[in-house]
Amino acid sequence: MIWDHLLWSVHNLRTRPARAGLTVLGVVVGVAAVVALVSIGQGLQRSVHEEFRAIGYNTVVVTPGLASGDAGSDALALEALVGRFIQAQPEATGGRAAPFREAVRRPVSSALDEVRALPEVARAGVIRTEIAFVTSAGMAGLGVLHVTGVSSGIFEDFPGYFPGFAVAEGRCFRSPDELSLVLGADVARDLGASVGSVVRVEDQEFTVVGILARTTTGGVGVTFGNLNLALFAPIETVALLYGNPDRISLGLVEARPGEDVNGVAAAVRTVFARSGIPVTAVSTKELSARITAVLGDLQTTLAAIAAVALLAGGIGVMNTMYTSVLERTRHIGIMKAVGAKDRHVLGLFLVESGLLGLLGGAIGTLAGAVMSGVAAAGVGRTLQGASELTSLAGGILPRFEPWLILAALGGSALLGAVAGALPALRAARLRPVEALRHA
């Protein structure tokens, strides 16, 4: 019987193609919006997860901030990371750093040495980012760039944080205080610099010792960001240049296998606190989970808004079905006269409205896929903060999990059937004689 309903429904819908089309369109809009939002959200979550996984889940992320180790400081770290993540700023804590509570302020580098000496720590590294005014012989005028001070060995120790990092020409740093620079491909091009060139950062002359290979690998902001725009210097050189040797932008500490990452985080906090550097230290696992949760909430909210469009689509289906029942009142009378039961009539109209929903769902899913592809490209570009990197492979790829597609199709068929329930019930309850008298 369901097959008969289906065949007859298709037949009925085809006799009123314009009406059916418009009704389906109403569902398409809602489904497309939901599918697009959810798939982008899924892609985003996936990227966050992938990037943290590349850094390593046995790693502690250190950010400047309160060093008390309470939940509030974790929240701050989260905020800092989410802030980075959304604004694509290399540094986002701004004036949040608490006033130093200890008189003794020691350089970051000594704290780092202490952390490295901890038995439960495998490796550790820090970076410090500053705004730099840069001039070079190969370029007229002045460039404003971010200079990133890196602790020695960080590129080898945490390759996951610098995806796509490769020295194309020259070498990396040899000592933590040499006056050397390693340039991203775009920076080198813009400065007209090559290995051996002299580049002035602020008023200090530096020698370019290495140039990075151009990369197309990008991320959603958890990792370093656009290496093509990077200007690396040893961290102690940056400290000498800018002062405040206790400043830190980000630290990464990898626990030894088998060690408790949270214990490592606590130890790291203590070490930095002793050095008068207030920091927050949170495991990547924790951060990933929290960012994912925040994204999940965001996604739920957006999907709920999109669901309003779905509701409108459902009302469209209901309207069409009421019209259809009214129009076919006499047919319903005939069906009943030749032996149709209430449930036969009910089934026919439910299948018909379900079919409208399903059609809307199928087309909506396709439309949503196209929309999310276009939108993700845009969002990816914004997150990168660099219009050049349009080919970021690792950006946000919308994800279409099988469950999303099944849910979209099943849900829209259900939406149609639910929207058609009242009209179908009305049809089923019609008294045969009255239905037959209908014009």
Binding site: M1, W3, D4, H11, N12, T15, R330, H331, G333, I334, M335, K336, A337, V338, G339, A340, K341, D342, H344, R431, P432, V433, L436
Partner: protein, 236 residues
Amino acid sequence: MTPDTLIEVSGLARDYRLGRSTVPALRGVDLRIAEGEFVAIMGPSGSGKSTLLHLLGGLDVPDGGHVAYRGLAISRQSRDALAEFRSRKVGFVFQMFNLIPTLTALGNVELPLAYQGVPRRDRHRRAREMLDSVGLADRGHHRPTELSGGEQQRVAIARALVTGPEVLLCDEPTGNLDSASGQQIMGLLAELNRERRITVILVTHEPEIAAFARRCVLMRDGQVVSDTGDGHGGGR
């Protein structure tokens, strides 16, 4: 030997409510129809003929009295049971043909079988045979609008017969037809009654149509005012 009583109606009443007033369409109808009869119901417009026919076929429920089919009170049945009754026992033929315009002749004839759960293949074969038996073998794929009135009514008769009903209820089946087509339809009904022993109850205004029946029930103002038979297979 007297044939078995097929339908027995007693004290049948049906009121239509129109706002505050009630229109009594049937006011205590008593009637007995035996198996195999061919009965014409006549009477002026508004006398309650269609109302009676609908009640006999379980298409409507009475406000008073009861309809018994083979001794079973169908007027007390559930909606589903009534649908089942219409599906298995009754075939309706209407003045307006009442074919579904979007379906082909075959589709229309198959419809009652679908509600009986007959498999698609059997349905198709039986509908074909039935169309064949009313002389429309080559019209199966035509839509109602592509058929003449007489042809449409023959499709409607095929649809009424396809389930093998015991009784055909015809409400002015020739009312929309020219007299030649009307005669053809009546010939068909008479043959069904004679050869296949199907009980035929027919509402008509026209005496020459009523002449095909062996018994004539005359109605006026919702009551039976004369009856040429007594429900024992008699009549002329």
